[in-house]
């Protein structure tokens, strides 16, 4: 971990989507999705900067998207209150779920992409069965008392973060819900790859690392500026560093253990809101306004 390679801009893509609300790697990290304020989702090959497909059908800004495990489907959510399941190749919407009462802020597939989980401003989390033809959510979680800001789904857990200052972890195996009071609005929650910790971006300009089992605070990372942005965080592929954007246009790398800022990437002067780390390699996608940057270690031989 000490020999952390210095990342630099490999590719800069201008998406022409007004504002990129979210950028997401697909399951193997070879493609990425950008959700734009222009109501479109774009599928890119970030490494070669090729726009592969544009998915249009939302009636308002697309706020989040996720690719299925076999990369054949995309699920996206929008402030038009709908969740849409897309067919990647044809670009046609397969299903459109309209169960939310307000804009849908985040969406994720489960591990086998048999179910989509979406969180909304209406304080609910909905489980959508994408296999069957059911149009209604199969389950609704109504524990949160304010907007759901992010969702993470593992094989048997669902982690939700909410504006009501609570992090909620739903465990399907045990059949219980853990809720941790954080004290600050959580703008984004993610989990380490080992599934032992969760990382919460809070509005007090900190990122907090919690132990999942005990709910204890393990570490706090600060230095960035969140202002009023729903900043996202990420963890690198080795679980060695915590990454977060900043309202100042930088990307911070903190050492997970020492909570020292090891690296500061400057993307521009616009806030870097959305982040997506490559699942296996040392690549990072960051978006700020209309621009998506792929960060990585430039290969010498090429």
């Amino acid at each position: 971990m000490s020999e952390q390679s210095v990342l630099s801009k490999i590719v800069t893509i201008t998406c022409k989507q007004q504002v990129v609300r979210a950028v997401r790697f697909n399951v193997d990290g070879s493609y990425c999705l950008t959700c734009g304020a222009d109501k479109k989702i774009k599928l890119w090959n970030p490494h070669s900067q090729i726009l592969l497909k544009t998915y249009g059908g939302h009636a308002n800004e697309v706020l989040d998207a996720a690719g299925s495990c076999d990369s054949s489907h995309i699920v996206s959510c929008s402030s038009d209150k709908s969740v849409i399941l897309w067919d990647v190749t044809t670009g046609q919407p397969i299903r459109r779920y309209r169960g939310h009462a307000s804009s849908v802020t985040c969406v994720k597939f489960n591990e086998e992409s048999t179910m989509a989980v979406s969180g909304s401003v209406d304080n609910t989390v909905c489980f959508w069965d994408v296999i069957s033809r059911r149009q209604e959510p199969v389950q609704i979680l109504k524990d949160a008392k304010d907007t759901i800001t992010s969702i993470q789904v593992t094989d048997h857990e669902v982690l939700t973060s909410s504006v009501d200052c609570h992090m909620r972890l739903y465990d399907m195996r045990v059949g219980k819900m853990l809720s941790d009071y954080i004290g600050h609005i959580i703008t984004y929650g993610s989990m380490t790859h080992d599934g032992q910790c969760y990382i919460l971006s809070c509005t007090d300009n900190t990122i907090k690392l919690f132990d999942k089992d005990s709910g204890e605070l393990l570490n706090t990372f600060s230095g960035h500026d969140s202002k009023d942005f729903l900043l996202e965080n990420a963890v690198n592929e080795k679980d060695s560093h915590i990454i977060s954007g900043s309202a100042t246009g930088e990307i911070f790398y903190w050492d997970l253990v020492s909570s020292r800022c090891t690296q500061k990437l400057v993307q521009g002067c616009k806030p870097v809101v959305s982040l997506s780390h490559h699942p296996t390699d040392n690549y990072l996608l960051s978006s700020s306004e209309d621009e998506v940057v792929l960060w990585g270690v430039p290969k010498m031989d090429n």
């Binding site: 086998e112 489980f127 304010d146 399907m172 059949g175 809720s179 941790d180 009071y181 605070l217």
Partner: protein
């Protein structure tokens, strides 16, 4: 006529030669030649018309009907995949090729437009039957000039309408031409021709110019419908000719349909068309029935009028030929001055108010002329009356109306609305009697006086109103009106009750102004609102960063089964199933509502606590006697000891009745699989068992089963029954059906009982029975003989008489013999009955007709109890 060239002979043959006759062939009659099928076919030889009356052509897709391959429906094309490329079906898809040809239904060739087609008359329009039927008047005014090309050309060449075509002619030539009028086809009837000539003559005679005339227009001979059955040109007698001509018909001789025709006025009357009216030898008779008219006679000698006509009007310069200069100037068209505008008229074009939301320039009056809005005072003021000095009550009336009225004398019409407008500023009045100032809606705001009265009514009730009457305030109202008003007030008071009374506690003032709803851009306070989710300790802990146990909360959460399935997580079903069963399976029988004690959860838990750990039997037993008659306690207690050896087994195997009910409601305590499975089996049972206390119920539903039990096991207490019953899960607990439905076993047994009660021996019998019964359980069969003996000893006398079957039952006989005074077939306590039943069953055993009895028993056993039977066999 044909000549055969092969024949060398110069024979001329006429006619068609017959077929060559062959000798060996028998000359047959002409073969029937079937005519070729008269089917219309298209050029491809396909049949063109199909179906009944050959109405449907092009049957089937591609005209496939009638083809050897048969009909083929138009091929279905799914539009699912290519929604965007749906092409509409065209008529051509359903037509044959020839339908598109020149004479088909959709010809595709050039055609003259109707304008140039030479068709004189356009197709008759259809007029809708509106309020003004017929051709719209406006269209009559504005009629498009529609002329055929030929007419236009003729016009150019100088032709005018009403003229014939050709060179101009002099009068003579014209006349001659007329004479030589060549007619193709049928000749016009001479009369008609004559008529037309005559009329022409008369008209021509008026002008004797040396001018050229245009040839006469060809007068098309309009063919009339022939609507009689006479020969051509013949007109039979009509009623007219018989009864006489009507007056005036002679004048329009040409058009007259009369048969009397006056050829020259007053000279000769020719009668035509008479067939039978005048005989052949008779001279032409005058129509005797014709009504004589003075107009028929000529009063002048000679054609006097002609001369006058022949005078030529003096020709003057600058006057066209044939015209006369007018002596009088033409009357000028009348001109009307524009209407005088009212003095205070201000033009208000429709577009002046830009939107309907814009406030009107001046307030609109509510309705009508405003007469009815005036109060009596206003009217009085208008009439110049001196206002009556107000009473005290009216002074409470906040509206300073009177002064205003006097002020507003000039513009009275609007004053009421002005008043109400003012009132609207203070739309609420405070009510004093509640102690605080509460805003109350004013229901009668439109009528201030009424409102004042209403307020007074609110303050003091009826008494105030009565006072009004006394003071003359209410004088203006008749008694009936007053009554009605009172009712109105009552209702209004109910409706518009001050909020504090009814709804006050349900609503609160908003703590924050609801700006966000109005202005989405207004800044929202940062949400650190807690919603009561976090305890103060949690907040404290979060503040100091002591996350962990304090800040964590654990809640049970159950994922839906489908979610588990999709997540590949084992379902938490086993644990969570109770949740599903939280709702007890309600049996919707009336009886479940009769017993209210076990209805709601609380009452049930109460009961449950009574039986805490109700697995032990004793609890049940203690409970039971409470419900039953207290005197049963003793036998229960006595028998309890004796029973012990057999009971525990039964209890353990069978589910407790009470428990199953408990599970249905609670599902919290035990969740043994065994019980569960049993509970499923006994789902029906609880609803019945629950009500075992009710004698009525029992007497209806349980008596049957009790009988059996007692018969088989000969228990004398219900104590036994309650332990035994659950044992057999398959037992049919439903009310008796079929042939047993209408049999009241209770009654049957009760008769028996009474008979035995009368018998003094039965008491002893009972004792002995109870003793024997204890043994019975272990070895009933063995004891049978003994029992019989004892029974014989006890009640042989009684039993000997008893013959079951066709004979009258013994107990019935007894009953007849010893009429009971206090005989009650119903509503007896169970134990009593059972005791009797048991005894009676014993007595049955001893009866002479024993085989029959056993049969009955058997059938009953078959019906329900199998388990017990087996048990017996075992023993």
């Amino acid at each position: 006529m044909s000549s055969d060239d092969s024949d060398e002979e110069n024979v001329i043959r006429y006619g068609t030669p017959l077929d060559p006759f062959e000798e060996d062939e028998v000359p047959s009659k002409r073969k029937f030649q079937q005519q070729a099928d008269q089917f219309a076919v298209d050029e491809n030889g396909r049949r063109r018309f199909h179906g009944a009356f050959t109405g449907g052509f092009s049957a089937g897709y591609g005209n496939t009907v009638g083809t050897p391959e048969g009909w083929a429906p138009s091929s279905f094309k799914s539009s699912r995949s290519e929604k965007a490329q749906i092409s509409n079906q065209r008529p051509e898809d359903f037509m044959d090729d020839e339908d598109r040809s020149e004479y088909g239904i959709a010809p595709r060739n050039l055609q003259t437009k109707s304008e140039f087609s030479g068709q004189k008359r356009p197709l008759q329009q259809r007029f809708h039957d509106g309020p003004i039927p017929g051709e719209p008047v406006l269209e009559q005014f504005i009629r498009a000039v529609h002329e055929t090309a030929a007419v236009k050309m003729l016009r150019r060449m100088g032709w005018k309408e009403g003229q014939g075509i050709g060179d101009r002619l002099t009068r003579r030539e014209k006349k001659r031409a007329e004479d030589q009028h060549k007619v193709y086809g049928c000749y016009m009837p001479p009369e008609i021709r004559q008529e037309s000539k005559q009329s022409e003559e008369s008209s021509d005679s008026e002008f004797e110019y040396d001018t050229l005339f245009a040839p006469d227009d060809y007068d098309p001979y309009t063919i009339q419908h022939k609507n009689d059955r006479f020969g051509l040109g013949y007109k039979g007698l009509s009623r007219h000719s018989v009864l006489g001509n009507l007056v005036g018909e002679y004048d329009s001789a040409g058009s007259s349909r009369s048969h009397l025709l006056m050829k020259e006025k007053g000279k000769k009357v020719s009668i035509r068309g008479q067939a039978f009216g005048v005989g052949a030898l008779e001279a032409d008779d005058e129509d005797v029935f014709a009504a004589p008219d003075m107009s028929h006679y000529d009063f002048e000698i000679g054609g006097a009028a002609e001369e006058a006509h022949r005078k030529r009007p003096p020709q003057s310069a600058s006057v066209l030929e044939g015209f006369v200069k007018a002596t009088k100037p033409p009357a000028a068209p009348p001109s009307y001055p524009p209407p005088a505008l009212p003095r205070d008229f201000t033009p208000a074009p429709a577009g002046a108010r830009r939107s309907r939301f814009e406030p009107a320039a001046h307030p609109q009056r509510d309705q009508g002329l405003g007469r009815h809005e005036l109060t009596s005072e206003a009217r009085g003021a208008l009439l110049g009356e001196v206002p009556i000095p107000k009473t005290e009550e009216t002074e409470t009336n906040p509206q300073p109306q009177n002064t205003e009225v006097s002020k507003l004398l000039g513009k009275t019409i609007n004053f009421v609305t002005e008043n109400t407008q003012k009132d609207k500023d203070i739309d609420f009045i405070s009510i004093k009697d509640t102690g605080k100032d509460i805003n109350v809606f004013k229901p009668f705001i439109s009528d201030p006086k009424k409102q004042a009265r209403y307020e007074r009514y609110l303050q003091g009730g009826d008494s105030n109103v009565e006072r009004d009457v006394a003071t003359g305030e209410g004088d203006r109202l008749s008694a009936w009106e007053r009554n009605r008003e009172m009712m109105e007030f009552e209702q209004a008071a109910k409706l518009y009750k001050p909020l504090s009374g009814v709804m006050g506690d349900r609503f609160t003032h908003a703590s924050e102004p609801d700006d966000g709803a109005l202005n989405p851009l207004s800044a929202v306070a940062k949400s650190s609102i807690n919603y009561g989710l976090a305890t103060p300790e949690q907040i404290e802990a979060a503040k100091i960063g002591a996350y962990g146990v304090v800040t964590r909360k654990e809640v049970k959460w159950r994922p839906e089964p489908i979610v588990c399935k999709r997540f590949n997580v084992p379902e938490l079903g086993a644990r969570m199933e109770p949740k599903k069963e939280d709702k007890p399976k309600v049996s919707y029988s009336i009886f479940s509502y009769l017993e209210s004690s076990v209805h709601d959860k609380e009452s049930f838990t109460k009961e449950q606590s009574k039986f805490s750990g109700s697995k032990s039997l004793n609890v049940d037993h203690e409970k039971k006697p409470k419900d039953d008659k207290p005197k049963d306690v003793n036998p229960v207690a006595q028998l309890g000891n004796v029973r012990k050896p057999t009971e525990p087994i039964e209890v353990n195997t069978g589910p407790n009745k009470r428990m199953t009910v408990a599970e249905l409601f609670m599902k919290e305590s035990e969740k043994d699989l065994q019980i569960k499975s049993k509970s499923k089996e006994t789902e029906v049972v609880p609803t019945i068992e629950k009500f075992d206390r009710m004698d009525l119920y029992k007497s209806i539903f349980l008596s049957d089963s009790e009988n059996e039990e007692t018969n088989e096991e000969s228990t004398s207490t219900d104590y036994k029954e309650f332990i035994e019953k659950p044992k057999n899960v398959e037992r049919n607990t439903s009310p008796p059906r079929g042939i047993f439905a209408n049999i009241d076993f209770d009654e049957l047994n009760s008769w028996k009982r009474h008979s035995e009660d009368k018998n003094p021996k039965t008491i002893e019998n009972n004792v002995s029975e109870s003793k024997t019964k204890t043994n019975d359980d272990t070895s009933e069969k063995i004891n049978n003989d003994d029992k019989r003996e004892t029974k014989d000893a006890n009640s042989s006398t009684a039993m000997e008489e008893a013959v079951y079957g066709p004979k009258i039952p013994e107990n019935l006989l007894k009953r007849l013999e010893l009429p009971e005074s206090n005989f009650k077939p119903m509503f007896r306590s169970k134990d009593e009955r059972e005791r009797e039943e048991s005894s009676s069953s014993d007595s049955w055993v001893e009866a002479k007709v024993k085989p029959k009895k056993e049969k009955k028993k058997k059938s009953k056993k078959h019906k329900s109890k199998k388990k017990s039977k087996h048990k017996k066999k075992d023993k």
